[in-house]
Symmetry: C2
Subunit: 737 residues, 2 copies
């Protein structure tokens, strides 16, 4: 085992140490008045209570799955490391969300209090708290990766070093499945929770009763603020842990197989993505320390301060990649580095496009706002239209990035040979790693948004006055802009990682077949094809595709593609309906309280906050199970019914349709949100006008789009791949077609 892996372990410790340091720093700040403390405590308790509840349910799912894997291992359908790797992946992903949320709930009142002094002070508390989350995610992921790598290297025994490395890296993918499963539950459960509360609070509070956002008279307001934490913070943490770890693991697995014939470079190819991520930790820290402004900075200066941190990190990682790959002695260091660059550039372009389509500074969102003069229906139509149009640039960008990353990594080899393919796929994987390598800082700029949002809620409820609210709103708006870039990286990397996982799937088939062939020395691939172990070992990706008739004209593949495309829609339909149902219950409860609690509107009686929290909790717990379990079950069912060819079709259909659908939903939702803000800024009639009411309808529809269904799709795509990979033993042995 190369000692370079200890550098990775070191980077993880560094990240976690700085996360702890920033956390302690934040905790030193004052939480403000007693009211502020009380509200923060309410929110913190509600959030923690929800998370505990959720972890219980998810825990049961994890235990059931781990038992299934254990049984599979007993029957030789999977190796015996899988249950443990799976559990740690889920545990660490959950932990990343937990720490992030704990920090956020401690930070909100402190940010509000700091914002009383100045905008700059507020930014600093919020941003450093966001950095805790970013560094925790990165640190835990690298810890998990390096620890498992060391453990498996120590325990696994294989005569052949090359196959040992392939075995280790594909086994490690199972902890990716654990992370994805946890992330899906966190995103779906948290997403339903937060949007049920948000929609409920808005529809009755803002539209019917005409009271402002976060008004303490609104019974759903605590639930709304709890929701921001469990959905936007804990959900996002688990989500990005999954993306980050997934891209590194998939690339490592690809590296092990692409360079299997080259003893010198195989382990280097496995370590390279981990090393790039490790250097990314250091560069993220540099970026984080660069974010500071002088007293009395303007909005523009603040934005520049944040942008400086992110851009410097991104620039430095590019240079670092060239250096790392050169120093490691890769023959094609230049090409692979350019693969990373194409990933980074694609992420930036997607981020810019996201900003263009969703920011009220540009025409598209302004047109959605303008369409409000003909009522809510035209707001919805134009928002949906905008979302659909906005898919073009990300798709074309990702398409170009895929081709460029592929060609750069394999020396511009247009021939479709086994070697060109596996090297090219390694390039696609490492492009995704490049995109996410500076996650430490990009996630900080993303996660501080909800913290600022919550700070605003706290300020409003504690009656801190207009000025403070304005400052927290400014921080929130700033966060929306920087978050656009983060979204670009997240969504772009998901597409690339999913492609890499597709190749890992075929690699896992190989391992499963070797395990099955075992003593007899041959394995049955299909009814008419049977291979010896030697043949299996030497077969390329393309050989497997042929043997399993993974051909675009094969109706089994086509049916798989159809089902994959349908899964994306079905999943969104289930989560949309879940939000709709939970929100409806919330609306009825808020209406009931307004009606039945005397003096509530005059601020004389306190609303029953706990009941709204309970409704959101119950709704989320109840509704998150079906879509999440479906995401796990469908790849298994398709595998058993349609076999390998069907699964490959499923993954391609799910990836392509899911990616486009995710961009559509995220951008439509973002545009509706900001069209409403644009009107609230005083355009087209301003707050309280009919136009405003029409855009509130748009924003409400957009809520589950951008915060529940849309972001879950990224995870869905990868989870389906992960499940297929882990369950491949079953598919290979039992299948109807």
């Amino acid at each position: 085992m190369s000692n370079l892996v200890f550098l990775v372990l070191g980077a993880s410790v560094l990240a976690l140490a700085f996360a702890f340091f920033f956390f302690k720093q934040m905790m030193k700040e004052s939480e403000g008045t007693d009211t502020m403390k009380k509200i923060a405590l309410h929110v913190r308790k509600g959030a923690m209570a929800y998370l505990k509840q959720q972890y219980k349910i998810v825990g049961i799912v994890f235990v059931v799955l781990a038992v299934i894997f254990a049984v599979m291992a007993v029957f030789g359908l999977q190796n015996s490391w899988v249950p443990f790797a799976f559990l740690t992946g889920g545990f660490f992903s959950g932990l990343a969300g937990f720490f992030g949320m704990k920090t956020a709930t401690y930070a909100s009142a402190r940010t509000a209090n700091a914002a009383q002094k100045s905008l700059d002070k507020g930014l600093k508390v919020a941003f450093r708290s966001g950095a805790v989350m970013g560094l925790t995610v990165v640190g835990l992921a690298l810890l998990d990766i390096s620890a498992w790598y060391i453990i498996l290297n120590f325990f696994v025994e294989e005569a052949d070093a090359a196959h040992k490395l392939i075995f280790i890296t594909t086994t490690m993918l199972t902890f990716g499945m654990g992370a994805s499963t946890q992330a899906l539950f966190a995103r779906v459960g948290g997403g339903i929770y937060t949007k049920a509360a948000d929609v409920g609070a808005d529809l009755v509070g803002k539209v019917e009763a005409g009271i402002p956002e976060d008004d303490p008279r609104n019974p759903a307001t605590i639930a709304d603020n709890v929701g921001d934490n469990v959905g936007d913070v804990a959900g996002m943490g688990a989500d990005l842990y999954e993306s980050y770890a997934g891209s590194i693991l998939a690339t490592a697995a690809l590296g092990a197989s692409a360079f299997a014939g080259n003893a010198e470079f195989q382990e280097k190819a496995v370590i390279a993505p981990m090393l790039i991520a490790s250097i990314g930790v250091v560069l993220s820290l540099i970026g984080i320390f660069l974010v500071k402004t002088k007293e009395g900075a303007t909005m523009k200066e603040l934005l520049r301060a944040l942008g400086r941190g992110v851009n410097v990190s991104a620039f430095l990682i590019t240079i670092a990649t060239f250096v790392i790959l050169y120093v490691m002695g890769f023959e094609n260091w230049l090409g692979i580095s350019f693969s990373v660059v194409s990933g980074l550039v694609a992420g930036i372009i997607i981020g810019q496009a996201t900003e263009y389509y969703t920011s009220q500074s540009y025409k598209p969102t302004q047109k959605v706002a303008e369409s409000s003069s003909t009522g809510p229906a035209t707001v919805i139509i134009s928002g949906l239209g905008l979302g659909m149009l906005s898919t073009a640039i990300p798709v074309i960008t990702v398409g170009v990035a895929i081709v460029m990353a592929y060609l750069c990594a394999n020396g511009f080899n247009l021939e479709f040979s086994a070697a060109a393919l596996s090297q090219g796929l390694y390039g696609i994987g490492i492009a995704a790693v490049g995109m996410l390598s500076t996650l430490g800082i990009t996630l900080a700029t993303d996660a501080y948004g909800p913290i600022a949002d919550n700070a605003g809620g706290n300020a409003e409820m504690s009656g801190l006055g207009e000025e403070v609210r304005k400052r927290t709103d400014a921080l929130d708006a700033l966060g929306n802009t920087t978050a656009a870039t983060g979204k670009g990286f997240a969504i772009g990397s998901a597409a690339l990682t999913a492609l890499a996982l597709l190749a890992s799937y075929v690699e896992e088939i190989k391992i499963a077949l070797i395990r099955i062939a075992g003593e007899s020395g041959t394995a049955q691939l299909t009814k008419s094809v049977s291979w010896t172990v030697d043949k299996i070992r030497s077969a390329s990706l393309i050989d497997f595709m042929d043997a399993y008739s993974v051909n675009l004209m094969n109706p089994v593949v086509l049916v798989g593609v159809f089902v994959g495309a349908m899964m994306a829609f079905l999943f969104c339909g289930l989560t949309m309906n879940a939000v709709g149902r939970a929100a409806q219950k919330m609306v009825e409860e808020v209406r009931r309280q307004f009606r039945e609690i005397a003096g509530i509107m005059e601020g004389k009686a306190e609303p029953d906050y706990a009941r709204c929290v309970a409704i959101s909790t119950k709704g989320a717990q109840h509704e998150m199970l079906l879509p999440s379990i479906l995401a796990i079950a469908i790849p298994i069912v398709v595998g058993v019914v349609l076999g390998v060819a069907g699964v490959m079709g499923l993954l391609i259909g799910g990836l392509s349709c899911g990616f486009v659908l995710a961009v559509f939903m995220a951008n439509a939702g973002g545009a509706w949100d900001n069209a409403k803000k644009y009107i609230e800024e005083g355009n087209f009639g301003g707050k309280g006008s009919d136009n405003h009411k029409a855009t509130v309808v748009g924003d409400t529809v957009g809520d589950p789009f951008k915060d529940t269904s849309g972001p879950s799709l990224n995870i869905l795509i990868k989870l389906m791949s992960m499940v297929s990979i882990v369950m491949v033993g079953l598919t290979v042995v039992f299948h109807l077609m």
Copy 2:
């Protein structure tokens, strides 16, 4: 040439003769009072004026494309029949829409007048007029097919009979491209027209001014009624002409190649789909004559009457298929017949699912209506959720049908061999033909809906009173139910036909390569692969897939899949926005007239109908070009940039994502429409309540979903395939990858 083709010609003459007979019968009915005549004339003139305008623009596009094809033919990139076949396909498709619309505009006042006497009389006039459309579409398509088949057989000279037949059938596909192009323009242009008028009329008339639908005081009401004719009638006619002809042509082409090695059966395999369609004409006529009710029939009895006609035809065509294929002497007549059955059964199941998800008699739509108690936002969320969920059954049904049709036709051969593949694909094609074979009657039950709708409009504007309006509403509602089945067949057949076209694409590559190889005797497939003419001739579908690296792991294929999925969204986004923009102009105009024309609301002054008609016309003409031209241009661009592998990916991505998106949009739109109707029937507060207003918003959003973007997707999918097929010469010679 087999003489059986004259049976096809005969069937076409029979269909056209009965269409003429029903038309004459309908014309004998009285058009009612002078007001009724005047209104009908207004609508007729407006519709004809629009259609002429549209044909002019489409004519220019056709001339340009024909010139391009001619130039390609000169350079040997295409054969010289193509421009002519293309033009006739477009011409006949347009003619089908034109005749249908002419009939509908004559029939509306007559239906209203007949409905004054009884429900049954109204049904008869409307349904027989619908039958004119159904029979015209079927008759013109069979005429075009048989005529070209006879002409090409006469003129084409090829030494080898087998290759002659392949050449003829693939050439005939070009007239399918003409039909698809015309259909897309008709659907998109008509769809934008009708929905701009409808949305405009509803938003200002119903919601703001609170006057009923089709009220003569509403300035947009004539435009709305014109829209029903140009969108729902002319658009639908061109659309189904395309589906019907496309399925037969694609299957004939597949038959020619699947049975190329079998001189006895090759032509029979080509003729079989035409014959099944021809027998379908006779059985449709029987069905049409079965539709009659006694005086004073209830709704249920009426529904049973219509159902009887459709079901008897479907049942008889099943039996007829077994007989035809047996008599023709097909070795596997039983299997191929079961392929047809699997298509028919799939169509029926999709139709039932459509009805379940969109009819107010069932829970899903009632739940959408119920969600109106929390406002328009939850109506939109629940409708979108419903639409997304509703994709599951159609996708799984089509998936099962694909596999069944494939396996039945190739004798349950699970091996992926060249012979098994081409026979199986033939089965998939003929399943689509089976689905559409009784189009004569299913289209009649579909097309009479808009006629009844227009009759209602005429009755309202002429002040015929509640009772007549109730009857026409009943007819309209009846039409919605029967139309669900029709939609199932249309959408299911589109998926199957598109798959068949995929195979035809590869077949066309073969022909293009042979043409290019010409004298030298070899052709360059890719940079490293070059084949002799003999090799090209003997190569199977699978050989071509390998030679062009059409492999699911090839990044070029994957990028194609992504772009295909994106195209479906982009196209819908463009058409949605087009409707939004045009509707906004309409709303502003109607508001202006209400404001500026004194006495308009008291019925003392006549509104300026013509101006609204002009706005819809201009909007539709202006907005239909970009999406339609994009649909033609993208496959060409992808072909030139990414080559054959990219195009195959594009078509798969477009097909899978487009199909699911089409089901989603159609069902969400249908559910919103009927949720509104459910409330209008007196549930959840009834007409005029806040709940009603919320569902009107849903209905308005649903309008472009179900009548513009959704139905255009079916055509888009096939048009992209057709363009790829016709343009393959370009792709084969010029491509970057």
